[in-house]
Symmetry: C2
Subunit: 229 residues, 2 copies
DNA sequence: CAACTGGTGTAATCGGCGCTTACATTCACA
DNA sequence: TGTGAATGTAAGCGCCGATTACACCAGTTG
């Protein structure tokens, strides 16, 4: 929408004859080779530059050095491209979460729960546009993106399990676990989206403090659900 | 973006001669009279039908019965129109909040805080697209929308004050009030956006239960910050 | 009353976009 | 070596936001 992308055009540089010379390094192979991946990367880059709305199929094609119609050989629609972009972003997100969880204390479920939330918040704060892509169903159809759905379902199951462990370990005050889980998700998701949606300036929160505030509200929440000592 | 709007066009009905006949009821006055307001209403309607992205200046003009260029006499850009739409939505939101607060218990600050959160959640759940418009800075420039900014600043100040009252009344356990406020906001905002962004189906939350879950997580949060009895 | 002036709408147009179709080129495999 | 499928290009459709030149109308002023 509202393409703000201007694109410096150019591209006039020497339209070499297509016939590949005997020893020339194949200046313009007709077939790109890995266009699909390059398109996703270009789109991911566009997301990083101007948000999800700044992604246009044509611009991605331009950056990949192909004609405007070429991407439609690989993606039936712009939304399908965005879906692939979202899958890639989700892949990175998940890798981060799992890495964080690997370095979490084993015997302290609530501590692991905190690690999960912290990793979620950190990644969202440091990759706001990528987070934006995976957060809204408008940008891609979550239900159809099997990879994403299962990824997310796994993450949901993971927090559920962690919370259950924390409960049996006697770390939680009595409450509905499902409600705790949803509330926790709403908290971190809301904080991340407040960042994306530009709410923090109005709260007097600059970028550097935002991340430590994220940690603070997570701890506030956890204290709220933890059994008082 | 990605106009899905089809618009049945038509509009061919009798292009009466412009000269107004002696007693005719002025079939097509050249000047619309209140185009600005009508455009905002049309845009608001479009938001309700297909989300914020479904708003196009041309479609709003179509529904107002004017030419595609006419809106630009009143709004320098589509974003300016969206800003006006957001101001209208924010006006309604604020009215709802204030009405809810009017019927809140006077001597119980924490109860009033709960009322605030509940009104926020309820309005957001029942007017998801309107909420979407006022929630994202992408759809309009919050900082330039003086009316909105001050509205929102007032709401922020209101919750801050309510929390402070709850604290002096001894209703809160020791904690940073600002952090409580931000956490509370993140919670309700996150829940509302999870609804907008279509997360709830993945959580097994249907529309009817969502609203009572909203209440439940709000209570969970409030119990977390309240002084234990 | 007539003429001017400023506000508001129309018509035409521009470039960008998503997407489709027809055609060109190349690769992989029989 | 030939041939079909895969993958690129070229051209074009209709939509969009936005701009410009022009038409119309209302209210003021002489």
């Amino acid at each position: 929408m509202r393409r703000s992308v201007k694109s410096s055009a150019g591209k006039s540089a020497v339209v070499r004859p297509r016939r590949r010379a005997a020893r020339a390094p194949a200046p313009k192979p007709y077939h790109h080779g890995d266009l699909r991946r390059v398109l996703v990367e270009a789109a991911l880059q566009l997301v990083g530059e101007g948000g999800a709305d700044a992604v246009s199929v044509r611009e991605a094609a331009r950056r990949a050095g192909v004609s405007p119609g070429a991407p439609f050989r690989h993606f039936p629609s712009r939304d399908a491209l965005m879906q692939a972009v979202a899958e890639e972003a989700q892949r990175r997100f998940r890798a981060e979460i799992e890495a964080a969880l690997a370095g979490a204390p084993a015997g302290d479920p609530l501590g692991r729960f905190r690690c999960l939330g912290l990793a979620y918040l950190r990644w969202a704060m440091r990759n706001p546009t990528h987070f934006e892509v995976i957060s809204s169903r408008r940008l891609f159809d979550h239900d159809r993106a099997a990879a994403i759905s299962s990824d997310n379902a796994e993450l949901i199951a993971l927090t559920e399990q962690t919370l259950a462990e924390a409960f049996v370990a006697g770390q939680l005050r009595p409450a509905d676990l499902k409600q705790i889980q949803i509330a926790g998700r709403a908290l971190v998701y809301g904080f991340a989206r407040m960042n994306i949606d530009g709410h923090f300036p109005r709260w007097g929160l600059a970028a550097p403090e935002a991340e430590q505030t994220a940690e603070a509200i997570l701890d506030l929440f956890i204290e709220g659900i933890a059994k008082r000592r």
